[in-house]
Structures are given as structure tokens and as C-alpha cells.
Symmetry: C2
């Protein structure tokens, strides 16, 4: 599923798509004589008392869902401590990513921080350098917000053509979580930012000592010093006990195991904002400080890991969309490679800088499909094609690929990652 | 913590409360010389590479959070398969309950259903009896909504006085989850409800064969046939693979492992809506069909399981509120047993029939506190005192106690469940 194939083989000529037969409005199969419901012996679970309330004080998924896990791509990186795994987007619905399935990206593995020994320092260009324990932080006002976190390199392998066969691998470096945290503004006000304090440098307590420069304007706007995700404590791999939340901006800036925030008068140009996380252009120049994640969408079902197994008839297509610049009021969907576009149905909460869920219900006639989705964000920006991005930015970068994704679905319902020429 | 004590001992005379000293605006402790941040040897996790992305394909909480679990109360029931455990509300924040911590209530243990063998039948007063496989259900339009689920018996032990020492035990038969499901209306329309079809009887596939009568009006309004919670498949103890969602109504109606929906012309008066889940009044009469959960709130921090450990100064009080009849636009909080009420700060999404989060920040002067919260819902209804409820309904029932909860906090910050006279 994660084979590396020659991208050129995956370029799909729209001329090859069959001209779609007449729509056969097949009814969803359903009849009342099915012994699986009428014969009680086929429902063994109704014959015995099941496990009780002491079985799992902290619950886990059904054994039948054992395939629903984060996965990495072995050939992508040399080791796992400085690597990435991917959220199984094709197994999820709605807008919340459960904590156990939020993708991970580490630069030096997971820091296993003792919360009793946890400290957060604010220093640099401040009136009073401060150190907070975890208990200190709990004494400041908190807020609750759902935000997506997307790695800048999400969809990065697709810059040079369709490569990874599954939305988990092409688009799974994203999760969407409801955070509880303290506005960073409040903590900076406690320390007192000097008038020449124009930037902050959050620093992680991990072995990589992850750092990024963030302009003061963003720090004072909507950043959170977060300690809960989806109601409970942050998970270790997501920065337990405290991480920075930088809404709408690329994931590596959301420093995990947050240990220190230094205030300065200019950006630091540290490793992870120079040699990494800058976009190399065609002419060899690097775009720096490409913080915002542009509007993007992907169809999660059907997709290569989630084929259409039910045959022709009523079919639910679904996917997710997001923008680092606001909400997603609209997503368009095509099932014929762009000949016809349909407005998708949005369902679920619409929060700024949070994932949105869309659906498109149609009658599948059993002929091949070329599926695409196109997000519009609240600023009016429309998700571009991959070719439009390549024309401007070349193919040297692995970052910030928000191009339209195409899945080809054959007569058997099997889906494949392709591009359209 | 779950000792059963003489409730009368817990009745608190407000006269006994010390008359609160002058507010000492202590600053949150924070100084820059703390060796825990300046001495790197005290941060061992920054000295070694931590676990990598293959460590846990499905992630779990930090070992430091091992105390954050569902708990039962041993003396409450004789066995665990027909029992209940409680959500650790005092350990959570925001409005989402993570799936692993959603309280459980079983009538015959957890049905371990094979999703491949799963069937849902709709029969009775319908034009066409239907049977759906799980794959069939996936072909109908879905919606996403966050709803609270509260057991009718939540806070039931408190009818006769303050008993259980912790909000996990007094109020923890509730969770709040984002569901993905099919409007029940759509499935009933497929079967075609006959004109005399006025009630439905959802039936579970568990050993208890759980059933409840629900009026057709509610079935066609906002009920969902749900298969995802917080983005992923339902957990086994929450009805995997399919449960009914009955927004705002008592939890036992949200039939788990949903196997069958029968349409009828009158209620069935089955066991769980006669001998159980009816409210016995003072005069021996039973209130039947008390479906809606009235507006309610509880302070989760501080509370008996979550004392104030930081001493006087800035203090964050927080809690949750909900109503089966709409949203919660307002929560009032008192720290002096009702002498003064303050409007709490609401933070986080406000959805109908969903949990809301409130905060109240204050300077604790170190003297004893009597904490209460009072929810107002969008219909104008105001949460009553427990004594007001007892006056009307007596003390024979264990159901539908939405009275105001009181915590007494002493000078050491230790909290106790009390009532005020």
C-alpha cells in the first residue's frame, strides 16, 4: 500500500475515462428474511453476559478495529525517533481526531516529562523573567478551541506526482483536536514584554530542543499554552504535559513539551526554520516563514485504502477540508475528473482554523470515477490544482502542497492515487 | 473516597462558615532561579532520544495519568455486568469526554458484536420490514452532532442527602461526545411508517435485550443511528458497532448494540420503563416517561477529589452544565453558600443538548468556601435546589436529581460534599 511507484505511471489521461453509463438507481439491499437477524443462534453475543464495568477502567477500541491505527512509511525515514506517522483519515468521520490516532512527528523521540518536575520559563526581553510550575499554570484563565494541526510536509511526497496510495499517507499528517489552554498573551503580560520584544522563541524539552521563531503579533493573537486535548491531558507524543498551540500555522511551530519562551527583537533563524521548513523554489531560492496552512481538502472515502465494496447504487462520498485562514464555507466535488462540479453538503461544526466535514451522496452507475474535491475558505481563496502550484513553486520543496487530490475508482470499486492531465 | 456516611452529618449549617477575611491578592508563585529549569540535569528527558513513532500505533495516556480512569462504587451494586461506572469529571476540561473515559452502564454486560454479522431490523407497523447490514447503513446520509448522555440515576444517591464524596461519583454518569450517524427519520422513511405507527421500540443485541418505548415524534425529530463517537468507531461498551442517540433524553433510551426497531401504536411498558426508570413519588405513585434531562450543573474543580493545593491567591473554579432542552447561556456561581452569586464565564462551543464549560476566576483569601453552581437553560429554566426537588417529588426515587450541588472547602483546600440548611 505504501509502495513507491514511478509517479509518471500514475498520471491519468482523462480521455481514458469511460463516458459513464445511465444511472441505475439501485436500492440499498435490505430484506426481512435474513437469518442473521431472525436466527438468534447467529447472535451469540445476546446469549451470554458480557464483560462488566471493571473490564477496562480506561477503555480501548473493539478488537474488530485493530486495523485502525497510525502508520508510518518505512522508506520515508531512516529511524522512528526522528520520523512521522499518519492519521488514518479514511477510518474516521466527523471533525474530531481521537487522541490515540493523532499523527506524530518527532525530532528526537517522545520526551517523557514528569509533570511534577515540569517548568515553563519566560525570559529574554521581558520586565520579569518567570518560571511556572504546572500548578501555577492551572491558576490562569483557560479557553477551549478546536484547531487542526497540519505538518508543513503533509502531501509533500506528491509534489513530483502521485506516489502514496492512500489518504492516510498523502494527507494524514493532520489532526483536529479540541484544546484547553491559557492564552499565551496572558502569560506574556505577566512577564511584561519590553517594547523591543517583537518575536518569541518557544523551545521544547525534548532531546531535539525544538525551536521556532514566531512574531509577537501571532503570540498575542490566538496562541494557547495548552494542557488538555479532547478533554483529557495531552498525550506524551503530543507534548505532555504542555504544548504550544499556534492556530492555522504549520505543525512544527506548535512546540511540544514546552519548556521555555524567549522574547527577542528579531527571528533566530534556527535549524528548523532554515535547513528545514523553508520551501526551496525552482531557482534555488528559499521561501522563508511560510507559516500559514492554505485551504485544502481531500476525499477520505472512497480512497485507495477504502474502496467501494458495495457495488452500484446509492453511495456516500465524504472528506475533510480546512484552512489556516478561517472557516470552510464550501467544498466542491467532482466524480468525473472535473467535467461537472457539485457543491458538497457540509455537516458538523464550522470553527475557524478547524477541520470541516463534507459529504456528497450520489448514485454510482458502476463505471469508473475520477474523484476530486476543491475547498473554498472564508477569505475567498480556492484550493488550486497541483499543476498550478508547480508552475509557481517548482518541484524542489516537500512543503505546503495543498493541491487538489485525485482518486481513480475502477469498475470494481478499487481506488488509486492518480493525477489528471 | 466512596465511603457511605450518614447523610445528616453532611448537612452544613451556613452559620458555621467563617466570615471570610480580607482578600490577599497573592501573586502566582514564579521566580527565574528555579534549578528545575536552569539545571539541565534535572530534565533527564532532554538528555536522551525518546520512543519513536512505532511505539504505540494506537496511543495511550501518559503513565503519570494512570489515576484518570472510570471508577465504580462497590457498595452500589452486587456485580459488574449489571452495573455502572463513572466519568472522572474532575480530571477533564473543555466539553469533549474522551472515549476511554465515557462512563458505562450495562444491563447484561458488554455485547461483543461481530460487525460482519451485525444486522439492524425495522419491523412492526411499516410498509416494508427491512434488514440493514453495517455496509448498507454506510450508504445513507450522515450527520455530526455533539450531545451529552446522562443516566437518569445520575446524582441519584444524593436524593436523601450528601453521600458520595466526589463529582465523579455524584455527577459522573454523564459523557459528552461528537457523534456521526444517520438520522433515524431517513431509515424509518425507507421502511415506510404506517399511519398508526406512533411509537418505536429500539432493542439491543445484548444479553439483557434492552428495550425502551420512544414516541414517533422524537424518533422523527433528532434521533441518530450512530456508528462513530469522537471521530472513530463506537467503543464496545458504548454499543459497537451501532447505537441509538436520543438527544437530551435519559441515557437508558440510547439503546446500545442496536438490533431492531419495532414500530407500534402504543408504548410497550417493558421492564426498563416500569420497574426501573420511573420516578416513585412520596405518595407511592410513579411518574412515567420522564424522558428529558433537566438543566443541571456541577463544579468539577475544586471538588472532593480535586482539592485546592496551591494555597491562597488566584484560583480557577470550573465546571460543566447541560440541559436536555437546549443550550446553557448562563451559569451562576457562589463561593459563600449563596450570599453572593457571580456570573460564570462560559468558554467553548455551545451546542444544543451538549455539555457546556464554565469558569470563575477569583482570589481565594484562604478562608473556608461553600461552592455552588446554578445553570440557566435556553428555555429560561433555572436549576433548582435539592430541597425544592424534594418538596415536590419526595425522596423515594433515585432518578432525575438535578438539584444544586454544594462543596465545602476548608482552610487547607480540602473539599467535601455537603448540603446547606
Amino acid at each position: 500500500m505504501t509502495d513507491r511507484t514511478d509517479p509518471s505511471r500514475r498520471r491519468f489521461l482523462t480521455g481514458a475515462l469511460a463516458a459513464g453509463g445511465a444511472v441505475a438507481a439501485t436500492k440499498v439491499a435490505a430484506q426481512a428474511g435474513d437469518p442473521a437477524i431472525t436466527d438468534i443462534s447467529q447472535q451469540p453475543w445476546s446469549q451470554y453476559l458480557g464483560p462488566g464495568v471493571d473490564a477496562a477502567p480506561y477503555g480501548v477500541p473493539s478488537p474488530h478495529e485493530a486495523h485502525v491505527v497510525r502508520r508510518n512509511v518505512e522508506w520515508l525515514t531512516a529511524d522512528t525517533v526522528s520520523s512521522i506517522n499518519f492519521t488514518p483519515l479514511h477510518e474516521l468521520d466527523g471533525i474530531i481526531t481521537p487522541n490515540g490516532l493523532c499523527f506524530e512527528r518527532h525530532h528526537g523521540g517522545v520526551a517523557e516529562v514528569d509533570p511534577g518536575m515540569y517548568r515553563l520559563m519566560i525570559n529574554g526581553l521581558v520586565d520579569t523573567p518567570l518560571v511556572f510550575t504546572l500548578e501555577d499554570l492551572m491558576r490562569f484563565p483557560r479557553e477551549n478551541h478546536a484547531y487542526f494541526l497540519e505538518c508543513a510536509a503533509n502531501t509533500g511526497m506528491e509534489w513530483r506526482g502521485a506516489q502514496l496510495n492512500g489518504c492516510q499517507f498523502t494527507h494524514g499528517m493532520i489532526h483536529n483536536v479540541m484544546y484547553t489552554g491559557i492564552p499565551l498573551r496572558i502569560l506574556l503580560e505577566q512577564a511584561g514584554v519590553k517594547t523591543n520584544g517583537k518575536w518569541i522563541l518557544p523551545e521544547g524539552a525534548d532531546a531535539a530542543g525544538m525551536t521556532r521563531s514566531i512574531p509577537m503579533e501571532k503570540a498575542l493573537d490566538d496562541c494557547l499554552v495548552a494542557f488538555k486535548m479532547n478533554g483529557e491531558a495531552l498525550r506524551p507524543e503530543q507534548g505532555y504535559p504542555v504544548r504550544l498551540v499556534v492556530p492555522g500555522w504549520e505543525g512544527n511551530m506548535w512546540v511540544k513539551w514546552l519548556r521555555r519562551i524567549e522574547v527577542g527583537d528579531e527571528p533566530w533563524h534556527h535549524r528548523e526554520e532554515t535547513s528545514k521548513y523553508t520551501d526551496l523554489l525552482e531557482n534555488g531560492q528559499a521561501r522563508r516563514f511560510t507559516w500559514e496552512m492554505d485551504a485544502k481538502s481531500v476525499i477520505t472515502n472512497p480512497s485507495p485504502q477504502a474502496p467501494l465494496t458495495h457495488g452500484p447504487g446509492p453511495t456516500v462520498l465524504t472528506g475533510v477540508a480546512w484552512s489556516g485562514r478561517g472557516t470552510i464555507p464550501r467544498v466542491d466535488v467532482t466524480i468525473d475528473g472535473g467535467k461537472n462540479w457539485h457543491m458538497a453538503r457540509m455537516s458538523g461544526p464550522s470553527f475557524t482554523k478547524s477541520m470541516h466535514r463534507f459529504y456528497f451522496e450520489f448514485e454510482w452507475d458502476g463505471s469508473p470515477l475520477l474523484l476530486q474535491s476543491r475547498a473554498h475558505d472564508s477569505t475567498g481563496y480556492v484550493q488550486p490544482t497541483k499543476d498550478m502550484l508547480r508552475e509557481i513553486r517548482g518541484e524542489n520543496s516537500i512543503y505546503h502542497n495543498n493541491g487538489i487530490q485525485t482518486w481513480y475508482v475502477n469498475e470494481q470499486g478499487v481506488a488509486e492515487n492518480v493525477e489528471i492531465s
